[in-house]
Symmetry: C2
Subunit: 171 residues, 2 copies
């Protein structure tokens, strides 16, 4: 059973967990991959709730998301996947099947063809409405040095949040 929420209601938990790690899942054709993200943004743009994800060119996820129209973000809120977050942030989907390797359960999205990770507690389903490659020219010099020493920049993916839900807790 899943219960729907407004994006504002879950914002505190979401932003707190994001800093510890969440799963960005993408699908292109019959290929599915997930990667750990710790950066992103939650907002309201163009009269709709939006989650902005950041993906570096070097990522296998980039190869999939660049042709995709959706993504999902799944947040494990109870520390149950700390080890898995670490694996999915360091290994590449080019080399391993992360879902099999980490025993993650994919579940069909409610509104997206892209699945969510059912082992998590809170989920966003997003439709990509805008994307943009970073332009280093206007970036703070300190950030450029610390986050992009090799020029491996991010692409921003702005996803309209079409569904926010969590596993309902039966007490």
């Amino acid at each position: 059973m899943y219960k729907e929420f407004d994006f504002c209601e879950v914002s505190q938990e979401l932003l707190q967990q994001l800093q510890k790690g969440a799963f960005l899942t993408v699908k292109s054709g019959n290929k599915v991959n997930t990667m750990t993200i710790a950066w992103g943004s939650l907002g309201y743009m163009w009269n709709r709730p939006v989650f902005t994800a950041m993906v570096r060119y070097s990522r296998y996820t980039y190869e999939l998301i660049k042709d995709a129209s959706e993504f999902t973000v799944s947040f494990p809120l109870k520390g149950q996947l700390d080890r898995t977050l670490s694996v999915c942030g360091t290994k590449s989907g080019r080399d391993i099947d992360k879902f099999k390797e980490c025993s993650l359960t994919l579940k069909e999205g409610v509104s997206t063809e892209t699945p969510i990770i059912d082992d998590c507690d809170l989920h966003l389903e997003c439709r990509i409405v805008y994307s943009q490659e970073m332009n280093a020219e206007k970036l703070d010099g300190k950030i450029k040095g610390s986050s992009y020493p090799e020029g491996n920049y991010h692409v921003f993916y702005f996803g309209e949040i079409v569904k926010v839900y969590r596993k309902e807790v039966w007490v």
Copy 2:
């Protein structure tokens, strides 16, 4: 008296109020202006909390922020400035002094030279670490038609949140 907060703790109130309106204040040289914003994003990027503001080229605020290194965002949480939000969203700082016209009180920022609006309850002080002009090419067609019929696009200003605080309530 002001009390500091973590950006996550205030995220729900902030995102809810943003949709009703908040004040984006900028300073360039000795010119100060504020405008009403209803769109924006709160997140964690480059290992720091970030508020992303959107400013259209046509705005007087754009003339100031394009040369600025900071901005502040002030949120009136009790409906006390609903009329003022409407004025500051429709009138231009080119034509009127919004602070005088609306009897708004500017107060020095704690960490920024840009002031905050003291009539509000919750404040963000931000240092611009990145900015980027929108590129319509990758924008959803529906949004392009509804939000930019005249091609008056936004520039994104990514501000590192250096301070989050609110007026302490004495009970």
